[in-house]
């Protein structure tokens, strides 16, 4: 599949933003005061909104984006939009009360956390629902999205918050555990993606044309001499060229460097090292998300 930069940016940043909103909503210890509360709100909500706005850039008609809120009964894309907006509104109310009264209303926070995780789940289901793309069509896909969202949200919360201990463990240790879980799920996802092919449905050029029973089927001539929308969007291959190198980059920037930085953060100036960890992780996730699209093969490629 064609890796659109706007969609990669969207899934990574809104994932991190909703992850941070989840942590704040669950009551992660943050600095109090009107400015601190506002900045926390700005980082979480800002990342989420920046991602959602970016996603409209790949639309043919961004000015009609509001129409996407109407078909939540059947469409995961529509559900994502609806849940995201409700969650952002709840988070705005939560943040306003927090800013002006210093109180963080727990039940409202839980609703924000639940809405944030549901939004990320809906995002992942946009891809996981597609039978035409076997790499994505897996229960592991939502787990990947949720795990990365939680890990990056926890990392950001650890950076701007004031928690030294979470569940009895030092905050950087908890972040390392979350990162570890996320990358283990992703490596399982990658291992599956490497071997899945079209075995899920058993599709091949023979079933695509229905001529398989006659013999070996091979495309002799394309319908057109140049590229078309289908070959550009769904039979994209250039992005796969450096797949192994990009996976290494994703592991190093998204996993290993943040873990090393978290280890430093256990001993000295946590904010500084957690900031480097967060930046590194986001860049690593861009590489991971690029491959999510670029390595995915679409059933229509069986006709080309």
């Amino acid at each position: 599949m064609h890796p659109a930069i706007s969609v990669i940016f969207f899934t990574v940043t809104s994932g991190a933003g909703f992850g941070l909103m989840t942590m704040i909503g669950l009551g992660f210890p943050m600095h109090n005061g009107i400015v601190a509360a506002f900045l926390s709100y700005l980082l979480g909500g800002g990342l989420a909104v920046a991602g959602l706005l970016s996603s409209t850039f790949h639309l043919g008609h961004p000015e009609r984006a509001w129409r996407a809120l109407s078909q939540w009964r059947s469409s995961w894309l529509s559900r994502e939009g609806v849940i995201a907006i409700i969650t952002l509104l709840l988070f705005a109310v939560y943040a306003l009360i927090w800013m002006f009264t210093g109180q963080r209303i727990a039940p409202l926070g839980w609703a924000v956390a639940a809405g944030s995780l549901l939004t990320v789940y809906a995002t992942s289901m946009i891809y996981a629902q597609l039978k035409t793309v076997p790499n994505w069509h897996s229960k592991l896909t939502p787990f990947c999205y949720l795990a990365f969202s939680i890990a990056s949200g926890l990392l950001l919360a650890g950076m701007i918050g004031k928690a030294t201990l979470i569940l009895g463990l030092p905050t950087p240790t908890i972040i390392v555990i979350a990162l570890g879980i996320a990358w283990i799920i992703k490596s399982v996802w990658w291992r599956r993606a490497d071997t899945i092919g079209f075995s899920q449905t058993g599709s091949n050029t023979g079933t695509a044309t229905g001529l398989g029973h006659l013999g070996k089927v091979r495309l002799l001539e394309k319908p057109h001499s140049g590229e078309n929308y289908l070959t550009h969007e769904m039979v994209h291959q250039i992005g796969r060229k450096h797949a192994l190198k990009l996976r290494a980059i994703a592991y190093i920037l998204g996993g290993i460097i943040p873990v090393i930085m978290c280890t430093f953060a256990l001993f000295i100036t946590p904010v500084f090292f957690l900031l480097i960890a967060a930046i590194s992780m986001i860049i690593g996730l861009f590489a991971e998300r690029w491959l999510f699209f670029a390595e995915a093969k679409h059933a229509v490629s069986l006709y080309y």
């Binding site: 006659l214 091979r218 229509v300």
Partner: protein
């Protein structure tokens, strides 16, 4: 509304006869011609006369080579357009309601004024039946020439999809699959019409008729006796008999 109708009164669609198609692309061209002036925005092209032309088409012909284990390869021209699936995944993923399947006749359409151009429907379709218009930035697809088949302003003979009307080999047929006695239902039954990628669970309406079995040299066939040279009357007959006598 992107929920699929529970059932449709008619199931309009095409039968495509792979035994007959000669791969002339006339259906492709007539489809483009009709649909660039009919329903919705024109079918856009980019760099049409330049080095790297591309554009939106609703019907394309691939050519496949099929090689049996024990016989020479054969060529199959393979026209492909929207199959107007009963369980159309392109419709349910649409976030805006622009994509819909009509309950009266089963045609899958896009309301272009509501389409945001998110591409998700094209991703959901296993057949590559939907293409983004590079000029209008809305999703384009086969309409089964909805603006021809019900059109009282054109002669009755023309009230079929443009691809069917133009096919010089009669490889494309239009009709109602809900009627078991229609032309398309009969053809499908008698010739073993089949679904493309049935494993995707889309329940396509359009049916493909397989190439007929090719005769092979070692096999006796019904038409072979006609080709055994036979002496007739006249000069050639006399010559044949005379030469036979020589042993």
């Amino acid at each position: 509304m992107t929920l699929l109708p529970a059932q449709t009164n008619k199931k309009l669609g095409l039968v495509i006869d792979l035994d007959v198609c000669v791969g002339c692309h006339a259906c492709v061209v007539n489809c483009k011609e009709w649909n660039t002036g009919g329903y919705g925005a024109p079918l856009g092209d980019v760099d049409a006369y330049g080095d790297n032309p591309s554009g939106a088409w609703l019907n394309r012909i691939h050519t496949f080579e099929v090689t049996p284990d024990d016989a020479p390869a054969q060529i199959v021209h393979f026209p492909k357009s929207c199959l107007h699936c009963e369980d159309a995944p392109c419709v349910t993923v649409c976030p805006t309601g622009a994509s819909y399947k009509r309950s009266e006749d089963g045609i899958v359409l896009v309301d272009e004024s509501m389409c945001i151009g998110c591409s998700l429907c094209a991703w959901a379709c296993p057949y590559g039946a939907r293409e983004m218009d590079p000029v209008e930035n809305v999703m384009k697809k086969c309409t089964l020439c909805v603006d021809r088949i019900y059109n009282d302003n054109i002669p009755e003979i023309d009230r079929t999809p443009a691809c069917v009307r133009t096919c010089p080999a009669n490889a494309r047929h239009f009709g109602d699959f809900a009627d078991p006695n229609s032309n398309v239902s009969t053809m499908t039954r008698e010739r073993g019409g089949y679904d493309l990628m049935p494993e995707m669970g889309t329940k396509p309406v359009n049916q493909y008729l397989p190439p007929r079995k090719k005769s092979r040299p070692e096999e006796t066939t019904e038409i072979a006796p006609a080709f055994v040279p036979k002496a007739g009357e006249g000069l050639l007959g006399w010559l044949d008999r005379a030469l036979e006598k020589l042993g």
